[in-house]
């Protein structure tokens, strides 16, 4: 990498250029300007090596074998659960259920908790900023429960209208399910206030932390949310693994989501009794290597420092807003009072897919389209946007490369 005028973004010790060297993808794709971490983040060698080492050294099925290798594998898997619990500051590792990702986590809550506790007329309150993964599961169980799905609106700036949200909270509301950080626009939601308002009304809260978990410190006990979900692959970990956090008493009250091995105490053809959480919700052989790889990713994040990562993301987001909003014809899609890590662009006269194709020619990888948030796009009156999302390996030169390629595209389509 050539010498540049880039300054260290988040104080001494946090250097995105050094961090970039931890990620083999950049070595093998020289010049890659990767601005799509919100879709999926790249993986540091530490994670890749941990997964590989686990298969080479310690692999066996968990919770079954009496032999030492299986015990070691089980210890590593359960150790990963401890790491995930610490990452969220959960009270206990028993409150951590390993799932395939945030989507499965929300579906688990919908099918296990929702089908059991929601009655006809009960309301699930979401926001207009949600990813489809926090809309469709509730619609899927709507027919079977008679629940009503209600969406709290955004305000003119693109943030959640908290006053309108409060008005939508009613005696019928049984669950609030909100994103922590909107994937399509980067709007950071006031989840502390949301939880406070909901709990005052006796309503449980699920927080979709997919975009927040890799970007800011998350403390589920301080937040006091009832459920918190995130995906491993967005936190620099492997695909196919994610975390559902739920308060222990709530998990205890929930019936199994899937049946199979590993989640039972006793099985006969007449009756089966189930394990306690979290194992009640982990039927079958789990993604052992995924959990262990995820734990390494979470450790890697902690090693860099979550406050330092937040400072870096804030600084770079600010730089991006400043740099990109100066380009004529480029409009940043509103993200309310606080935007973090995601820059969603509406470029006059250029369809997002055309723009993304031209950007790709300049090795700038962005996401184009509706970002699995069609209701939000409809609300904003946009077919889609071009989204640049930031990670720990990005620096100002990536934003500059995006801006330069954008200008080329504008000349082409202008």
């Amino acid at each position: 990498m050539s010498a540049t005028r880039i300054q260290t973004t988040a104080g001494p010790g946090f250097d995105p250029r050094r961090i970039k060297r931890d990620f083999p993808i950049f070595e093998r794709n020289p010049g890659l300007v990767f601005l799509d971490s919100a879709a999926s983040a790249q993986k540091p060698a530490a994670v890749i090596d941990r997964v590989s080492d686990f298969y080479r050294s310690d692999y066996a099925n968990v919770h079954r074998g009496v032999y030492r290798l299986s015990a070691r594998s089980s210890d590593l898997y359960e150790g990963a659960r401890e790491t995930a619990a610490k990452f969220l500051n959960a009270a206990s590792a028993d409150e951590i259920v390993f799932v395939r990702g945030a989507t499965e986590a929300i579906n688990l809550v919908a099918y296990s908790w929702g089908l059991n506790f929601l009655k006809p007329g009960d309301e699930v309150l979401v926001t207009e900023l949600e990813h489809h993964a926090n809309i469709v599961p509730w619609q899927l169980i709507r027919e079977r429960t008679g629940l009503k799905l209600v969406a709290a609106p955004i305000d003119a700036s693109g943030g959640l209208d908290l006053a309108a949200f409060e008005k939508k909270l009613s005696a019928k509301t049984k669950l609030v399910a909100v994103t922590h950080l909107a994937n399509a626009t980067g709007a950071l939601l006031p989840v502390e206030a949301i939880v406070r308002l909901a709990h005052r009304a006796g309503v449980k809260v699920l927080v979709d932390g997919c975009q927040a978990a890799p970007r800011l410190p998350v403390d589920v006990r301080a937040l006091d949310c009832d459920f918190y979900v995130f995906s491993g692959h967005k936190t620099y970990g492997p695909t196919g693994i994610g975390v559902l956090y739920a308060k222990r008493a709530i998990l205890e009250s929930m019936p199994p989501f899937q049946g199979g091995g590993d989640m039972i105490e006793q099985v006969s053809f007449e009756q089966t009794t189930f394990q306690h959480p979290p194992h009640r919700f982990e039927a079958g052989t789990p993604d052992i290597s995924g959990a262990i790889g995820l734990a390494r990713a979470l450790e890697y994040i902690e090693e860099l420092g979550r406050d330092a990562i937040l400072a870096h993301e804030e600084q770079l987001t600010g730089y991006g807003v400043d740099r990109l909003s100066r380009l004529p014809g480029v409009k940043l899609v509103g993200a309310g009072q606080r935007r973090l890590g995601i820059l969603s662009l509406d470029v006059q006269g250029i369809h997002p897919h055309d723009l993304a194709t031209v950007l790709d020619q300049h090795q700038v990888a962005v996401r184009a389209g509706h970002h699995c948030a069609q209701p939000l796009m409809d609300r904003l009156g946009l077919a889609g946007t071009t989204r640049a999302s930031l990670g720990i390996y990005n620096d100002e030169s990536d934003i500059d490369a995006l801006a330069a390629a954008l200008t080329v595209a504008q000349k082409m389509f202008g």
Partner: protein, 154 residues
């Protein structure tokens, strides 16, 4: 491949100023095409006189590729028989997906039309964009076959 080869002037022109971009007053057939990946929608209108496409037009919103493709499609389809149009789509589809025969089909006499559509074949180097070029054609085919339905590219 340079993006200028994908976004040739004719594509940019038809993307900016699509031809036959309106609804028909008296369509005999119409269908909507929808690409769920990007949310693009196109409605294709046909006025058939017997077996002949007397008029064809489209409406909708989409990227430069899908708009240009729809626009060029309406130009080449006008006056063709339904059977010829189907033949043309088959050949065009093979070309944009990179499966064409090495030589233009000698028998069907559609070389001029295929040449007109040639600029769109640049999408074959961009697999994610092939559907943009075929969206209007799928809607056209659906209109022809079923009259009034929504088709998806996936």
């Amino acid at each position: 491949m340079d993006t200028r080869e994908l976004y040739q002037d004719i594509i940019l022109d038809h993307g900016r100023h699509p031809r036959n971009f309106h609804a028909l007053a008296h369509p005999t057939h119409s269908a909507q095409g929808h690409n769920p990946l990007c949310g693009d929608r196109v409605t294709v209108y046909l006025e058939l006189d017997g077996d002949v496409i007397k008029d064809v037009s489209f409406e909708g919103r989409g990227c430069a590729i899908s708009t240009a493709s729809a626009s060029l499609m309406t130009e080449v389809l006008k006056g063709k028989t339904a059977a010829t149009a189907e033949e043309l789509f088959k050949d065009f589809h093979a070309r944009v997906t990179g499966h064409q025969h090495p030589q233009p089909h000698p028998s069907h006499g559609l070389e001029d039309e295929l040449e007109r559509l040639e600029p769109l074949t640049g999408v074959k180097a961009y697999p994610a964009r092939v559907k943009c070029a075929t969206l209007a054609w799928h809607a056209f085919e659906a209109a022809l076959k079923d009259g009034n339905i929504t088709v998806k590219t996936e």
